[in-house]
């Protein structure tokens, strides 16, 4: 049941407990108890909306930034990663394998704002050896949702 509930919440975090209960054929109390324990146990960290920025008038600027880090003797990549994560401009931080170390998603109102964050805040952190900034041009799929749907076609209304 835990997995099913997590899946449903991932698809739609506003789904009601009663709908979850009906879908999974369990009682509402059980659903509530399960979600409470997922929240308390730190499995569910929060609920958020999937927003198609392009549909907004003043859409923000997003950049994906690759960061190379020289790891420290004690904490490896953690101290630098944790420091970067504290900036409110940074919405995502991942340690990854491959040609660089950290992958960030950084948000700003303008191109300049992001550029200046990189120049003044990010590059100057001790341990950051290089950065590459990629500005996001268009989003096609986010949180499992395809943002530009194909056009509909005529589906028969009654079939055997």
């Amino acid at each position: 049941m835990r997995e099913s509930i997590l899946k449903l919440l991932q698809q739609n975090s506003r789904i009601s407990n009663s709908e979850i209960a009906a879908r999974l054929d369990v009682c509402e109390d059980e659903v509530k108890k399960c979600i409470d324990s997922l929240e308390e146990g730190g499995v569910i960290k929060g609920y958020t909306a999937v927003i198609n920025d392009e549909a907004l008038e003043n859409s923000a600027v997003k950049a994906i930034i690759e960061v190379k880090v020289s790891p420290s003797r004690d904490g490896g990549f953690d101290p630098v990663a944790k420091k970067i994560a504290k900036f409110s401009q940074v919405s995502e931080v991942y340690l990854i394998s491959g040609g660089y170390d950290l992958r960030l998603v950084v948000n700003g109102q303008t191109l300049n704002e992001v550029a200046s964050f990189v120049a003044r805040k990010l590059s100057t952190i001790d341990g950051v050896t290089s950065t590459r900034t990629h500005f996001l041009l268009k989003k096609y799929k986010q949180a499992n949702m395809i943002l530009h749907e194909d056009e509909d076609f005529e589906r028969l209304k009654i079939t055997p």
């Binding site: 009906a22 879908r23 079939t159």
Partner: protein, 390 residues
């Protein structure tokens, strides 16, 4: 011109599908939420569509062998062995790829029936069975299943219909439109009966993947059955591939060979693009299929709960994506219920009588719709039922 003197007598006598009339009615209206479909709301999983496109890119646009691509037949036989159908067939001569299960059933009936042979089938059922038997010049013999045992079928009910002219029995479990399944005891007894009376069993297992509780092996795997069973299955429902039109039949090579003769002179082969798409479905799309199945199961749970709350009796179907809902408490006939509901609330359901006269008192609701649509539809039905009862 009097065309009736040209049109074959037995075709003139064939009624049009009951669904057809209702379909015309629905098509005249706007803003209808239709629970009247018999196919998945999902588009075919992308990896399957992509395989079909790639097949075209490679220029695979020819005929295939009459039996179908050997690679697909091999994959089907592996699937039947590995995926709990518990029955083994030789892909070389015991499997034929057809244009949907409908064609497979037609081939089987035409291969088996001499004029006047009786074929037993159970109603309410898929709209084609009765007509297909008649078109093959057989005599359809129906068994009426009922709500008391959730539209399941006991050997006893079949035994009552067996005569010296009986040649075959058609089974369709999980059942369209009722969602009924058979349990182990029922299949054991039906098998014994078929062996005892030396009958062929045509088992249409198109909804087998969409079984939500425990799924039993195919009846073909029961003692004495493999040699007398034609197993029919396809990709339309579980893999959301209705438009690809691809199904298959497996059975003893003598029967498959007889079916192949008709197929080679009429259809030649199923579309190669569809066959290659089906191959991809069996090889790499199990996960997508299970995702859709899980979604159907949750919608079923929701749907059943809502219907029972509004006072329309509805048992929980074990398979397929249909609910067979009893509407007698509204004092309306199936057809009146469906027509009034359509008129007043713009929700389309299929009157149970479209699937046989014993479907009177029921309507079929399909849950291959998004839950959002199901919610709106059930809200409207609830209002309608309340008005009817007041």
């Amino acid at each position: 011109m009097d065309y009736n003197k040209f049109i074959a007598q037995h075709i003139q006598e064939l009624p049009k599908s009951g669904i057809r009339k209702f379909f015309d009615l629905v098509n005249l209206m706007d803003n209808v939420i239709s629970l009247g479909v018999g196919e998945p709301d999902f588009a075919t999983p992308w990896e399957i569509r992509e395989a079909a496109i790639y097949s075209l890119e490679k220029g695979h646009t020819s005929y295939t062998s009459n039996l179908g691509l050997l690679s697909l037949r091999k994959e089907i036989c592996r699937y039947l062995k590995d995926e709990d159908f518990n029955v083994e067939y030789n892909p070389v001569d015991e499997c034929i790829i057809t244009v949907g299960v409908s064609e497979a059933l037609d081939l089987a009936l035409r291969a088996l029936i001499n004029i006047g042979d009786e074929v037993i089938y159970h109603e309410p059922c898929y709209v084609s069975y009765n007509a297909e038997i008649k078109m093959a010049h057989g005599v359809p013999v129906k068994i009426e299943t009922n709500i008391d045992n959730e539209f399941s079928l006991d050997a006893k009910q079949i035994a009552e219909k067996i005569t010296p002219k009986t040649k075959a029995i058609i089974l369709n479990f999980p059942c369209n439109p009722t969602g009924a399944t058979l349990n182990n005891e029922q299949m054991t007894e039906i098998s014994k009966l078929a062996v005892e009376h030396d009958l062929i069993v045509l088992t249409d297992e198109i909804y087998s993947e969409l079984t939500y509780e425990e799924r039993l092996p195919s009846i073909a795997s029961y003692p004495g059955m493999r040699e007398r069973t034609i197993f029919l299955h396809g990709f339309s429902k579980a893999y959301a591939m209705t438009g690809f039109r691809v199904g298959f039949a497996c059975g003893p090579k003598e029967l498959i060979d007889a079916m192949m003769k008709i197929h080679q002179y009429t259809m030649l082969c199923a579309s190669i693009t569809s066959q290659e798409a089906a191959l991809e479905a069996l090889r790499n799309s199990k996960k997508s299929m299970l995702m859709m199945k899980n979604e159907y199961m949750q919608r079923r749970n929701y749907f059943v709960k809502r219907f029972n709350e509004m006072g329309l009796r509805c048992y929980k179907p074990r398979g397929s994506f249909y609910l067979f809902v009893e509407v007698t408490s509204t004092k309306l006939s199936s057809l009146d219920f469906a027509e009034k509901l359509l008129e007043e609330e713009r929700v389309a359901v299929v009157p149970g009588t479209a699937f046989g006269s014993c479907g009177e008192g029921f309507v079929r609701c399909c849950y291959a719709m998004s839950l959002e649509e199901i919610k709106v539809a059930t809200d409207r039905i609830e209002r309608f039922v309340k008005n009817m009862k007041d």
